[in-house]
């Protein structure tokens, strides 16, 4: 799926070769990422797609490290957490050849653990968040930035997709949901700070 988002980086030497698609009801993103990263040092791109095969978000991993992630306007670690919260219809994986590794976002295992903490906090927004884990100091340093005003989320109508818990099939709703996630993640980090 061609990314309509800001990435992946459009470099002439970058080669993206599709390897598989899988029904997200039969597997899940963290599992697929761990299997790829646990057994191979090749670079893989995994894209989360909705029922209309529209891109919801994407992540690149190599040898246990997360190189980049993107969901709507979110990038970096926040995008990893937002990706873990999505419910895509399909996962699409590709092998990527790109000499530019850039600065990784962190180890996959650690980001998955941090993501689980964030999602747990999102699930109970009315409670005080727990004290920051002593071994996760960099969580507080994550910068948050959103170009989408919060009312976009409030104005988003409840769709059949949203009610069914499946990924929405229209193009704008994932962006609104991404913005909502960003807002919630930002609130959590602000509370922690």
């Amino acid at each position: 799926v061609n990314s309509p988002l800001n990435g992946p980086p459009n470099r002439p030497n970058r080669v993206v070769e599709p390897i598989f698609q899988a029904d997200a009801a039969q597997t899940d993103l963290p599992t697929a990422l761990q299997l790829m990263s646990g057994l191979s040092r090749n670079r893989f791109l995994v894209q989360a797609l909705d029922a209309g095969e529209q891109l919801l978000g994407e992540i690149e991993v190599k040898g246990g490290m997360v190189l980049r992630a993107q969901v709507g306007g979110l990038q970096g670690r926040e995008a990893v957490f937002a990706l873990l919260h999505l419910r895509p219809q399909t996962l699409s994986a590709s092998h990527v050849q790109d000499g530019d590794l850039g600065e990784p976002l962190g180890s996959l295992e650690r980001l998955l653990m941090e993501g689980a903490v964030v999602i747990d906090e999102l699930a109970r927004p009315n409670e005080e968040p727990p004290a920051p884990l002593a071994d996760l100091p960099e969580l507080d340093a994550v910068e948050t930035a959103s170009a989408v005003p919060p009312q976009s989320v409030a104005q988003a109508p409840a769709s059949a997709d949203a009610r069914s818990g499946r990924a929405p099939s229209s193009g704008w709703l994932p962006l609104a949901l991404g913005a909502g996630l960003l807002l919630l993640i930002s609130l959590i980090f602000r509370k922690r700070g």
Partner: protein, 164 residues
């Protein structure tokens, strides 16, 4: 589910012992013996003469262990072609096991238990709880990847209109 550097070292060290003691085929024989004792219904899915099967399993395990010759600090290196990539090889094996040998997801558990049993018998005291945990994790990665292979659609499948 990811293997730590220590777990990879434990796997490599104990597999070397299996190799040095020329236990590789014995261990795989023990594996099949245990599997067919605990699950005789699986016997019909295998050929009468098991010698080729034993060698194949030993070779697969040997390849898996030797491919995992990298630690977390080596993540930048090691790009390899699809024919040598353990993840891609295992997904292809998983597809084949599902389509040709009709292996179901429920069979991966007993197979893993028999593999650990064979390693336990072969390695004896060296098969400590930590080593067992490392091998269990490796088997979970292998089985999980083969199961993923069984459900995935390749670009060729999609061209041919195969649906999940």
């Amino acid at each position: 589910m990811l293997l730590s550097d220590q777990e990879k070292q434990d796997i490599r060290r104990t597999w070397r012992l299996v190799e040095q003691a020329a236990l590789m085929e014995t261990a795989t024989e023990l594996f099949y013996q245990n599997l067919f004792e605990t699950h005789p219904e699986y016997r019909s899915q295998f050929p009468e003469d098991m010698s080729g099967q034993v060698r194949k399993l030993a070779k697969t395990l040997d390849f898996a262990v030797k491919t995992l010759n990298w630690d977390s600090g080596d993540w930048k290196e090691g790009e390899m072609d699809a024919q040598s990539d353990l993840f891609l090889i295992l997904t292809a094996m998983g597809r084949r096991h599902k389509k040709v040998y009709t292996v179901g997801n429920d069979q991966y558990g007993p197979v893993g238990a028999s593999l650990l049993h064979a390693l336990d018998l072969g390695l004896g005291q060296v098969f400590t709880p930590e080593v067992k945990a490392a091998w269990t994790k490796l088997y979970m990665l292998i089985a999980g990847t083969m199961q993923l292979g069984a459900i995935m659609l390749t670009p060729e499948d999609r061209k041919q209109g195969v649906r999940q």
